[in-house]
Symmetry: C2
Subunit: 198 residues, 2 copies
Protein backbone atom coordinates (compact mmCIF):
# COMPACT_ATOMS: atom_id res chain seq x y z
CA UNK A 1 0.00 0.00 0.00
CA UNK A 2 1.14 3.53 -0.83
CA UNK A 3 2.76 5.36 2.06
CA UNK A 4 1.66 8.77 3.31
CA UNK A 5 3.94 11.69 4.15
CA UNK A 6 3.50 12.66 7.80
CA UNK A 7 3.71 16.41 8.38
CA UNK A 8 3.73 18.19 11.73
CA UNK A 9 1.58 21.30 12.06
CA UNK A 10 2.98 23.66 14.63
CA UNK A 11 0.55 26.05 16.32
CA UNK A 12 -0.93 28.61 13.96
CA UNK A 13 -3.88 30.88 13.24
CA UNK A 14 -6.40 31.25 10.40
CA UNK A 15 -8.30 34.52 10.09
CA UNK A 16 -11.00 36.16 8.02
CA UNK A 17 -10.15 39.17 5.84
CA UNK A 18 -12.24 41.27 8.22
CA UNK A 19 -10.28 40.09 11.27
CA UNK A 20 -7.01 40.56 9.41
CA UNK A 21 -7.88 44.21 8.80
CA UNK A 22 -8.86 44.78 12.44
CA UNK A 23 -5.55 43.27 13.55
CA UNK A 24 -3.23 44.77 10.91
CA UNK A 25 -5.13 47.71 9.47
CA UNK A 26 -7.49 48.46 6.61
CA UNK A 27 -6.52 46.91 3.29
CA UNK A 28 -3.94 44.57 4.78
CA UNK A 29 -3.35 41.37 2.82
CA UNK A 30 -1.56 38.14 3.63
CA UNK A 31 1.61 37.59 1.63
CA UNK A 32 3.19 34.25 0.88
CA UNK A 33 6.26 33.55 2.99
CA UNK A 34 6.35 29.83 2.26
CA UNK A 35 4.06 27.49 0.36
CA UNK A 36 2.64 24.55 2.35
CA UNK A 37 2.05 21.02 1.09
CA UNK A 38 -1.65 21.62 0.48
CA UNK A 39 -2.06 23.44 -2.85
CA UNK A 40 -2.71 27.17 -2.40
CA UNK A 41 -2.08 27.13 1.36
CA UNK A 42 0.83 29.16 2.69
CA UNK A 43 2.62 30.49 5.75
CA UNK A 44 2.32 34.28 5.68
CA UNK A 45 4.76 36.87 6.95
CA UNK A 46 2.31 37.92 9.67
CA UNK A 47 2.21 36.83 13.26
CA UNK A 48 -0.53 37.62 15.72
CA UNK A 49 -0.40 37.51 19.50
CA UNK A 50 -2.67 34.81 20.89
CA UNK A 51 -3.51 35.76 24.45
CA UNK A 52 -4.86 33.19 26.89
CA UNK A 53 -5.95 33.26 30.51
CA UNK A 54 -4.26 33.01 33.86
CA UNK A 55 -6.77 32.98 36.66
CA UNK A 56 -4.03 32.41 39.22
CA UNK A 57 -1.95 35.50 38.49
CA UNK A 58 -2.84 38.16 41.06
CA UNK A 59 -1.73 40.91 38.66
CA UNK A 60 -3.87 39.64 35.84
CA UNK A 61 -0.94 39.05 33.52
CA UNK A 62 -2.15 36.86 30.68
CA UNK A 63 0.07 34.32 28.92
CA UNK A 64 0.63 34.94 25.24
CA UNK A 65 2.62 33.84 22.23
CA UNK A 66 3.12 35.10 18.68
CA UNK A 67 1.63 32.62 16.22
CA UNK A 68 2.00 32.59 12.46
CA UNK A 69 -1.05 33.31 10.35
CA UNK A 70 -1.59 30.83 7.55
CA UNK A 71 -3.18 31.95 4.31
CA UNK A 72 -5.27 32.43 2.37
CA UNK A 73 -7.89 34.04 4.60
CA UNK A 74 -10.84 31.82 5.53
CA UNK A 75 -14.47 32.39 6.40
CA UNK A 76 -13.85 31.92 10.12
CA UNK A 77 -11.15 32.61 12.68
CA UNK A 78 -9.41 29.57 14.07
CA UNK A 79 -6.45 29.06 16.41
CA UNK A 80 -4.80 25.63 16.30
CA UNK A 81 -2.61 24.63 19.23
CA UNK A 82 -1.33 21.45 20.84
CA UNK A 83 -2.31 20.36 24.36
CA UNK A 84 1.15 21.55 25.43
CA UNK A 85 0.52 24.99 23.92
CA UNK A 86 -2.98 25.12 25.42
CA UNK A 87 -1.59 24.46 28.87
CA UNK A 88 1.17 27.05 28.60
CA UNK A 89 -1.19 29.67 27.17
CA UNK A 90 -4.06 29.03 29.59
CA UNK A 91 -6.41 28.00 26.79
CA UNK A 92 -9.18 25.44 27.04
CA UNK A 93 -9.49 23.72 23.69
CA UNK A 94 -11.26 20.59 22.46
CA UNK A 95 -9.91 18.12 19.89
CA UNK A 96 -11.78 19.09 16.72
CA UNK A 97 -11.63 18.94 12.95
CA UNK A 98 -10.71 22.20 11.27
CA UNK A 99 -13.82 24.33 10.81
CA UNK A 100 -15.78 22.60 13.58
CA UNK A 101 -15.43 25.44 16.04
CA UNK A 102 -18.89 25.80 17.62
CA UNK A 103 -18.37 25.91 21.38
CA UNK A 104 -14.59 25.57 21.09
CA UNK A 105 -12.07 27.61 23.09
CA UNK A 106 -11.82 31.37 23.59
CA UNK A 107 -8.84 33.71 23.39
CA UNK A 108 -7.83 37.23 22.45
CA UNK A 109 -5.98 38.01 19.20
CA UNK A 110 -3.83 41.11 19.17
CA UNK A 111 -2.15 42.73 16.19
CA UNK A 112 -0.43 46.07 15.61
CA UNK A 113 -3.71 47.78 14.65
CA UNK A 114 -6.22 46.25 17.03
CA UNK A 115 -7.48 43.25 18.91
CA UNK A 116 -10.33 40.78 18.71
CA UNK A 117 -12.03 38.72 21.39
CA UNK A 118 -12.72 35.25 20.07
CA UNK A 119 -15.50 33.58 22.04
CA UNK A 120 -14.74 30.38 20.13
CA UNK A 121 -12.26 29.15 17.53
CA UNK A 122 -9.44 27.67 19.60
CA UNK A 123 -9.03 23.97 18.83
CA UNK A 124 -6.55 21.14 19.10
CA UNK A 125 -6.60 19.74 15.58
CA UNK A 126 -7.89 16.21 15.15
CA UNK A 127 -5.28 14.31 13.20
CA UNK A 128 -6.23 13.79 9.59
CA UNK A 129 -5.11 12.81 6.13
CA UNK A 130 -5.59 15.07 3.13
CA UNK A 131 -6.01 13.16 -0.11
CA UNK A 132 -7.45 13.44 -3.60
CA UNK A 133 -10.41 11.33 -4.82
CA UNK A 134 -7.87 9.26 -6.77
CA UNK A 135 -5.91 8.56 -3.58
CA UNK A 136 -9.15 7.72 -1.75
CA UNK A 137 -10.08 5.17 -4.39
CA UNK A 138 -6.63 3.63 -4.15
CA UNK A 139 -6.83 3.40 -0.34
CA UNK A 140 -10.45 2.24 -0.42
CA UNK A 141 -11.63 5.03 1.86
CA UNK A 142 -14.01 7.97 1.61
CA UNK A 143 -14.27 11.46 3.05
CA UNK A 144 -14.97 11.34 6.80
CA UNK A 145 -13.73 7.78 7.32
CA UNK A 146 -11.71 7.13 10.45
CA UNK A 147 -8.54 5.09 9.95
CA UNK A 148 -5.48 3.89 11.85
CA UNK A 149 -2.07 5.03 10.66
CA UNK A 150 1.18 3.37 11.66
CA UNK A 151 4.14 5.70 11.95
CA UNK A 152 7.58 4.26 12.64
CA UNK A 153 10.35 6.84 12.58
CA UNK A 154 12.91 4.20 13.50
CA UNK A 155 13.71 5.90 16.80
CA UNK A 156 12.02 3.50 19.22
CA UNK A 157 8.64 5.18 19.31
CA UNK A 158 6.44 3.36 16.83
CA UNK A 159 2.83 4.53 17.10
CA UNK A 160 -0.44 3.58 15.48
CA UNK A 161 -2.58 6.70 15.44
CA UNK A 162 -6.24 5.77 15.65
CA UNK A 163 -9.05 8.30 15.20
CA UNK A 164 -7.43 9.70 12.07
CA UNK A 165 -9.95 11.44 9.80
CA UNK A 166 -9.86 11.04 6.02
CA UNK A 167 -10.44 14.31 4.15
CA UNK A 168 -10.92 14.07 0.43
CA UNK A 169 -10.82 16.91 -2.08
CA UNK A 170 -9.54 17.56 -5.57
CA UNK A 171 -7.75 20.50 -3.99
CA UNK A 172 -5.69 18.39 -1.60
CA UNK A 173 -2.30 16.71 -1.83
CA UNK A 174 -1.64 13.45 -0.01
CA UNK A 175 -0.34 14.18 3.49
CA UNK A 176 -1.14 13.28 7.08
CA UNK A 177 -1.17 16.14 9.57
CA UNK A 178 -0.32 15.68 13.23
CA UNK A 179 0.48 18.25 15.89
CA UNK A 180 3.75 18.77 17.76
CA UNK A 181 2.75 16.55 20.70
CA UNK A 182 1.85 13.73 18.34
CA UNK A 183 5.09 14.32 16.45
CA UNK A 184 7.05 13.94 19.67
CA UNK A 185 5.11 10.83 20.71
CA UNK A 186 6.37 9.07 17.56
CA UNK A 187 9.80 10.80 17.56
CA UNK A 188 9.13 12.15 14.08
CA UNK A 189 11.76 14.31 12.43
CA UNK A 190 12.83 14.75 8.85
CA UNK A 191 10.83 12.91 6.21
CA UNK A 192 8.67 10.21 7.80
CA UNK A 193 5.92 8.24 6.11
CA UNK A 194 2.96 6.46 7.63
CA UNK A 195 0.76 3.67 6.36
CA UNK A 196 -2.92 2.98 6.85
CA UNK A 197 -3.36 -0.23 8.83
CA UNK A 198 -6.34 -2.27 10.03
Amino acid sequence: MKEILVETSARHVHVTQEALEVLFGKGHNLEVKKALSQPGQFASNDKVMVIGYNKKDPNGVRPSAALSILGPVRNHNQVEVSFTDARSLGLVAPVRESGDIAGSGACTLKGPAGEIELSEGVIIAKRHIHMTPTDAAEFGVKNGDIVNVEVDSGKGRKVVFGDTVIRVSEKYALAMHIDTDECNACACSGVVNGKIVK
Copy 2:
Protein backbone atom coordinates in the same frame (compact mmCIF):
# COMPACT_ATOMS: atom_id res chain seq x y z
CA MET B 1 -7.19 -9.33 29.43
CA LYS B 2 -6.39 -7.24 32.50
CA GLU B 3 -6.08 -3.52 31.83
CA ILE B 4 -3.07 -1.44 32.80
CA LEU B 5 -3.16 1.95 34.50
CA VAL B 6 -1.49 4.56 32.29
CA GLU B 7 0.49 7.12 34.25
CA THR B 8 2.17 10.23 32.86
CA SER B 9 5.65 11.01 34.10
CA ALA B 10 6.37 14.72 33.97
CA ARG B 11 10.00 15.78 33.66
CA HIS B 12 12.07 14.93 36.72
CA VAL B 13 15.53 14.18 38.03
CA HIS B 14 17.17 11.24 39.84
CA VAL B 15 20.41 11.85 41.71
CA THR B 16 23.04 9.99 43.70
CA GLN B 17 23.49 10.79 47.39
CA GLU B 18 26.85 12.32 46.48
CA ALA B 19 25.27 14.63 43.89
CA LEU B 20 22.46 15.52 46.30
CA GLU B 21 25.01 16.70 48.85
CA VAL B 22 26.91 18.76 46.28
CA LEU B 23 23.64 20.40 45.22
CA PHE B 24 22.00 20.85 48.62
CA GLY B 25 24.82 20.56 51.16
CA LYS B 26 26.53 17.91 53.24
CA GLY B 27 24.19 15.49 54.98
CA HIS B 28 21.13 16.51 52.94
CA ASN B 29 18.50 13.81 52.51
CA LEU B 30 15.47 13.48 50.27
CA GLU B 31 12.18 13.62 52.11
CA VAL B 32 8.91 12.15 50.93
CA LYS B 33 6.51 14.75 49.59
CA LYS B 34 4.26 12.24 47.80
CA ALA B 35 4.46 8.49 47.27
CA LEU B 36 4.43 7.32 43.64
CA SER B 37 2.74 4.23 42.23
CA GLN B 38 5.94 2.21 42.25
CA PRO B 39 6.53 0.90 45.81
CA GLY B 40 9.19 2.92 47.65
CA GLN B 41 9.47 5.60 44.95
CA PHE B 42 8.48 9.14 45.86
CA ALA B 43 8.41 12.77 44.80
CA SER B 44 10.69 14.69 47.16
CA ASN B 45 10.40 18.26 48.37
CA ASP B 46 13.53 19.23 46.47
CA LYS B 47 13.80 20.82 43.07
CA VAL B 48 17.00 21.32 41.14
CA MET B 49 17.65 23.69 38.26
CA VAL B 50 18.33 21.83 35.04
CA ILE B 51 20.30 24.13 32.78
CA GLY B 52 20.53 23.50 29.05
CA TYR B 53 22.25 25.21 26.15
CA ASN B 54 21.45 28.08 23.85
CA LYS B 55 24.09 28.46 21.20
CA LYS B 56 22.11 31.20 19.50
CA ASP B 57 21.90 33.62 22.42
CA PRO B 58 24.59 36.27 21.93
CA ASN B 59 24.65 36.91 25.69
CA GLY B 60 25.13 33.26 26.53
CA VAL B 61 21.94 33.06 28.59
CA ARG B 62 21.15 29.38 29.10
CA PRO B 63 17.58 28.08 29.31
CA SER B 64 16.66 26.42 32.59
CA ALA B 65 13.80 24.99 34.59
CA ALA B 66 13.32 23.74 38.13
CA LEU B 67 12.65 20.00 38.08
CA SER B 68 11.51 17.82 40.98
CA ILE B 69 13.93 15.26 42.33
CA LEU B 70 12.40 11.82 42.76
CA GLY B 71 13.60 9.55 45.56
CA PRO B 72 15.14 7.48 46.85
CA VAL B 73 18.63 8.37 45.61
CA ARG B 74 20.01 6.12 42.87
CA ASN B 75 23.46 4.99 41.80
CA HIS B 76 23.53 7.41 38.86
CA ASN B 77 22.27 10.87 37.96
CA GLN B 78 19.50 10.97 35.38
CA VAL B 79 17.33 13.75 33.95
CA GLU B 80 14.11 12.64 32.25
CA VAL B 81 12.42 15.10 29.91
CA SER B 82 10.01 15.02 26.99
CA PHE B 83 10.99 16.09 23.47
CA THR B 84 9.07 19.30 24.16
CA ASP B 85 11.10 19.94 27.30
CA ALA B 86 14.34 19.06 25.52
CA ARG B 87 13.61 21.59 22.81
CA SER B 88 12.69 24.38 25.24
CA LEU B 89 15.72 23.67 27.43
CA GLY B 90 18.21 23.27 24.60
CA LEU B 91 18.97 19.67 25.54
CA VAL B 92 19.90 16.90 23.15
CA ALA B 93 18.48 13.68 24.51
CA PRO B 94 17.97 10.19 23.10
CA VAL B 95 14.97 7.93 23.76
CA ARG B 96 16.34 5.48 26.33
CA GLU B 97 15.33 3.11 29.08
CA SER B 98 15.96 4.37 32.58
CA GLY B 99 19.54 3.59 33.59
CA ASP B 100 20.79 3.31 30.00
CA ILE B 101 22.59 6.62 30.02
CA ALA B 102 25.94 5.94 28.31
CA GLY B 103 26.39 8.66 25.69
CA SER B 104 23.07 10.33 26.50
CA GLY B 105 22.54 14.10 26.85
CA ALA B 106 24.50 16.64 28.87
CA CYS B 107 23.30 19.45 31.15
CA THR B 108 24.17 21.37 34.27
CA LEU B 109 22.39 20.77 37.58
CA LYS B 110 22.31 23.64 40.03
CA GLY B 111 21.15 23.59 43.64
CA PRO B 112 21.45 26.04 46.53
CA ALA B 113 24.83 24.62 47.61
CA GLY B 114 26.54 23.89 44.33
CA GLU B 115 26.38 22.71 40.78
CA ILE B 116 27.31 19.66 38.74
CA GLU B 117 28.17 19.27 35.08
CA LEU B 118 26.57 16.12 33.74
CA SER B 119 28.35 14.92 30.62
CA GLU B 120 25.59 12.34 30.20
CA GLY B 121 22.35 11.37 31.94
CA VAL B 122 19.70 13.36 30.06
CA ILE B 123 17.20 11.02 28.41
CA ILE B 124 13.72 10.94 26.97
CA ALA B 125 12.23 7.92 28.70
CA LYS B 126 11.28 4.98 26.53
CA ARG B 127 7.69 4.10 27.36
CA HIS B 128 7.41 1.03 29.54
CA ILE B 129 5.20 -1.07 31.75
CA HIS B 130 6.18 -1.95 35.30
CA MET B 131 4.79 -5.28 36.45
CA THR B 132 5.35 -8.10 38.93
CA PRO B 133 6.35 -11.64 37.86
CA THR B 134 2.74 -12.66 38.58
CA ASP B 135 1.46 -9.99 36.19
CA ALA B 136 4.03 -11.04 33.58
CA ALA B 137 2.83 -14.65 33.75
CA GLU B 138 -0.75 -13.49 33.36
CA PHE B 139 0.11 -11.34 30.31
CA GLY B 140 2.40 -14.00 28.85
CA VAL B 141 5.37 -11.62 28.65
CA LYS B 142 8.84 -11.44 30.16
CA ASN B 143 11.26 -8.72 31.21
CA GLY B 144 12.58 -6.81 28.20
CA ASP B 145 9.76 -7.83 25.83
CA ILE B 146 8.43 -5.13 23.53
CA VAL B 147 4.65 -4.86 23.30
CA ASN B 148 1.94 -2.68 21.79
CA VAL B 149 -0.48 -0.93 24.13
CA GLU B 150 -3.81 0.52 23.06
CA VAL B 151 -4.88 3.61 24.95
CA ASP B 152 -8.30 5.11 24.29
CA SER B 153 -9.15 8.02 26.55
CA GLY B 154 -12.48 8.49 24.78
CA LYS B 155 -11.48 11.95 23.53
CA GLY B 156 -10.90 11.20 19.86
CA ARG B 157 -7.21 10.38 20.09
CA LYS B 158 -6.95 6.61 20.34
CA VAL B 159 -3.33 5.47 20.08
CA VAL B 160 -1.54 2.15 19.98
CA PHE B 161 1.88 2.73 21.50
CA GLY B 162 4.39 0.34 19.97
CA ASP B 163 7.94 -0.05 21.28
CA THR B 164 6.71 -0.36 24.86
CA VAL B 165 9.19 -2.17 27.10
CA ILE B 166 8.09 -4.70 29.70
CA ARG B 167 9.92 -4.35 33.00
CA VAL B 168 9.38 -7.08 35.55
CA SER B 169 10.31 -7.00 39.22
CA GLU B 170 8.85 -8.16 42.52
CA LYS B 171 9.33 -4.55 43.58
CA TYR B 172 7.03 -3.10 40.91
CA ALA B 173 3.32 -2.35 40.78
CA LEU B 174 1.40 -2.70 37.50
CA ALA B 175 1.51 0.62 35.62
CA MET B 176 2.46 1.93 32.20
CA HIS B 177 4.57 5.08 32.13
CA ILE B 178 4.42 7.57 29.28
CA ASP B 179 5.75 11.12 29.08
CA THR B 180 3.78 14.33 28.73
CA ASP B 181 4.03 14.42 24.92
CA GLU B 182 2.72 10.86 24.69
CA CYS B 183 -0.01 11.76 27.20
CA ASN B 184 -1.10 14.64 24.97
CA ALA B 185 -0.99 12.50 21.84
CA CYS B 186 -3.66 10.22 23.35
CA ALA B 187 -5.50 13.04 25.19
CA CYS B 188 -4.97 11.28 28.50
CA SER B 189 -6.31 12.87 31.66
CA GLY B 190 -7.71 11.44 34.85
CA VAL B 191 -7.65 7.68 35.22
CA VAL B 192 -7.03 5.99 31.88
CA ASN B 193 -6.22 2.33 31.29
CA GLY B 194 -4.45 0.68 28.41
CA LYS B 195 -4.45 -2.85 27.13
CA ILE B 196 -1.73 -4.93 25.53
CA VAL B 197 -2.69 -5.73 21.93
CA LYS B 198 -1.12 -7.73 19.10
